[in-house]
């Protein structure tokens, strides 16, 4: 029982990332009708927001200490991050919390990137065939990825979680098992909670605000909303920006779990597309449910007990599920009739 619970927990953080990316993808599908292959790149850009913030925060002041010398006889260099030199302990704390702080920076940055992307490129592709949408966003993904590579290099750049969240949480005690059975890295649990918060926020935004109501109306019948005198295009642009923010935040918070490198977006994109397809194109709830489901299934498949029965299952489980789902339920788990069918 505790082994099963542990695997469920293991799948939650990855599932959270899948769900967040897939949610953005689905929103873009539903509103703009565009297949965005650059969505993984947005996830990656978010992660690199965290990298950039960290590297700005840890800019160092170098002073020479004439009283000490190094082994080479030169004066010892003392490196202190400016922020620590200026603000003392508070500065050190800020540096420690660089990943959560990056969120504040990432929101406007990703919103800007998203809006620029939609206005600058995507909007010219509404009326073009899906194949061309796929191709142009695919090209954009390569471009973004290569720009990041030229700026930050090709190697993964580890981002530490704050000291507070570095430890393990003994989850077993909380739910009544013996101590030490289910220990779980705290940051992963935080990531899961974070993804739940974001998902709830997105749903609440679409469900309970006037803006969200208009957007939902636009998803259902774009033409009628336009006839009512509402500039639906403008709202959809903001929705695209919002989807970019969601993907970006998913990336920021994921950095302590997986050191970001320039092609992490592509790896997640392929899986997120599968998630969207499994959940049902255009269904927000489906995307979230499928994201968590596939994350958990993947962690079950990487259990040693399962791997000895079917070797290599952990590598292919997600694709296998996608194939089965598409053959049995062509619209996905919660797909609506008439969405993305032709």
């Amino acid at each position: 029982m505790d082994a099963i619970l542990l695997q469920v927990l293991n799948g939650l953080d990855k599932g959270g990332a899948y769900a967040l990316i897939a949610l953005g993808l689905t929103i873009i599908f539903g509103t703009l009708g565009v297949v965005n292959f650059a969505h993984g790149a947005l996830f990656m850009l978010g992660a690199f927001c965290a990298v950039a913030v960290k590297s700005v925060l840890s800019l160092e002041k170098v002073t020479l200490d004439p009283t000490k010398t190094t082994a080479w006889g030169t004066p010892m260099e003392i490196r202190v991050p400016y922020i620590e030199a200026w603000f003392g302990d508070f500065g050190a704390t800020v540096l420690d919390f660089s990943v959560p702080i990056s969120i504040i920076i990432a929101i406007p940055v990703m919103l800007l990137i998203g809006v620029a992307m939609e206005r600058g490129l995507i909007r010219f592709f509404y009326k073009r065939p899906h194949a061309e949408q796929i191709l142009v966003t695919f090209g954009l993904a390569i471009v973004l990825q290569e720009i990041v590579k030229s700026q930050f290099g090709a190697n993964p750049i580890p981002q530490p979680a704050p000291d507070l969240a570095k430890g393990m949480i003994d989850f077993g005690i909380m739910v009544g098992f013996d101590a030490g059975n289910i220990v779980y890295p705290a940051w992963r649990l935080i990531y899961f909670l974070f993804s739940i918060v974001i998902i709830t926020a997105v749903f609440a935004f679409l469900q309970f605000t006037t803006f969200g109501m208009v957007v939902r109306a636009g998803m259902a019948d774009r033409e009628t909303v336009g006839l009512l005198g509402i500039d639906i295009d403008k709202r959809f642009t903001i929705v695209f920006g919002m989807a970019a923010v969601v993907a970006g935040l998913a990336g920021v918070m994921y950095t302590p779990i997986l050191s970001p490198d320039y092609h992490m977006g592509m790896d997640f994109l392929v899986l997120s597309f599968v998630v969207v397809v499994v959940g049902g194109m255009g269904s927000l709830g489906g995307a979230v449910a499928a994201g968590f489901m596939l994350g958990i299934l993947q962690s079950f498949a990487s259990m040693n007990e399962v791997k000895t029965i079917i070797p290599g299952i952990d590598q292919i489980i997600i694709y296998l599920i996608a194939v089965i789902i598409l053959l049995v339920r062509p619209r996905g788990l919660m797909g609506r009739k008439g969405v993305m069918e032709h």
Binding site: H130, F138, G139, E146, G312, Q315, I316, L327, M340, H342
Partner: protein, 388 residues
């Protein structure tokens, strides 16, 4: 009888194509591409793109997983070298068959859906093959190291014929002709011409017409009581066989197969080749493949020194700025150029280079007053061209 049904234009086109390919080393020498390693790549990726075009250009099904067939072909060819013989004929034959077999399996499932579902399904299958090749299938694929020849390989046929390669690592040879350098290129070139001929026959056949009908309106085809799936599946298998053949040839010219050939970036590359040249046209994919491989070769060999020389005519401060900007796009940054090119082509010239040529010709024709019509080599229903 076959030739009697070919139109005169097609014969001329085939003849010109063959002549251009065979004279490749001479024609391409002035632009610095007249050496066999690169020419081999032109020919091999030309075959790959020709095959992809039969699927995407004719039926409109956008597959994002064709690299899987290329990889399968490569592995099969290297295994044939190891087990049977160093002669390339059995290797490419088996590689083609394996590509077709893979395509039949994957196509059978993927073709149940169309549109973007199809793209994602093929992508999923290719990623699955790639992941498997890296992990569980390591005994067959040799994982990250890649599958290599070894001196101790059995090579049953060679042994039966009493061929002994001695203490050196054997390389593939076609009845005694070593498959490296120019012989290797001509081997690939002849196959490319055969593939081109075959693709031309498909384009002109009723079967090809049926595939185009699938692209333009599949529903209507279904309403007339026609089951389109066997046609689409046949196209998928044929293009898988082309990809397998190309993979086999890659192994013939360089007997090494690695899983990275199956990665989805490789699938994206063949899509780009086809689009760049012009999907749905006969010549386009070959031109696109050549262009991409050529620029890849040129751009990735550039470095700062060459760039400094290129911008020598500018004042020094400007020269440095230009060099630092353009060095982003060359050398290691070649992929950035590739991505940007990808976007530019899709945005401005969705019909590819062939459409560009046609536009240019119409434009020139209009300027000189009344075009002469000219020999239009491709009767493919080109995506609506702006000019009239």
């Amino acid at each position: 009888m076959r030739n009697s049904s070919m139109s005169k234009n097609d014969l001329i086109l085939l003849f010109c194509f063959s002549a251009a390919i065979l004279a490749g080393p001479i024609i391409l020498a002035p632009i610095g591409a007249g050496y066999p390693d690169l020419l081999q790549k032109f020919a091999i990726f030309g075959i790959f793109a020709l095959g992809f075009n039969i699927l995407f250009g004719l039926t409109g099904y956008l597959s994002f997983g064709h690299a899987a067939f290329l990889g399968a072909g490569s592995y099969t060819a290297v295994w044939t070298f190891k087990l049977l013989s160093m002669n390339p004929l059995p290797a490419i034959l088996l590689a083609t068959l394996m590509g077709g077999l893979f395509a039949a399996l994957i196509g059978f499932i993927c073709l149940r859906r169309s549109g973007i579902y199809f793209s994602i399904l093929t992508l999923a299958f290719a990623q699955m093959s790639y992941n498997l090749a890296y992990s569980v299938l390591t005994p067959i694929t040799n994982g990250e190291t890649g599958l290599q020849l070894r001196q101790a390989d059995p090579r049953i046929l060679d042994a039966a014929l009493g061929r002994d390669y001695g203490a050196v690592l054997p390389s593939s040879d076609f009845f005694g002709i070593d498959m490296t350098g120019y012989p290797g290129f001509y081997f690939c070139a002849v196959i490319l011409i055969a593939c081109f001929f075959f693709s031309m026959r498909i384009f002109r056949s009723p079967f090809g017409m049926m595939l185009r009908a699938v692209k333009s309106n599949q529903n209507r085809m279904n309403y007339t009581g026609l089951n389109t799936r066997p046609y689409a599946l046949a196209a998928f298998i044929i293009s898988g066989m082309y990809a397998g053949l190309a993979g086999g040839l890659l192994a013939v010219t360089d007997p090494l197969a690695g899983a990275e050939r199956m990665q989805w970036t490789a699938s994206g590359e063949v899509v780009l080749m086809t689009i760049l040249g012009g999907s749905g046209t006969l010549l386009g994919p070959v031109i696109g493949a050549g262009a991409i491989k050529y620029f890849e070769n040129i751009f990735s060999s550039f470095n700062e020194g060459i760039l400094m020389k290129a911008f020598d005519f500018l004042p020094e401060s400007l020269q440095h700025i230009m060099v630092s900007i353009s060095s982003l796009f060359v050398g290691e940054g070649w992929h950035l150029t590739l991505g940007a090119l990808f976007m530019l082509i899709v945005i401005f010239l969705p019909g590819g280079l062939m459409e560009g040529f046609n536009r240019l010709r119409t434009w020139l024709g209009n300027r000189t007053g009344g075009g002469d019509g000219g020999a239009v080599p491709d009767t493919a229903p080109a995506p609506s061209v702006g000019g009239d």
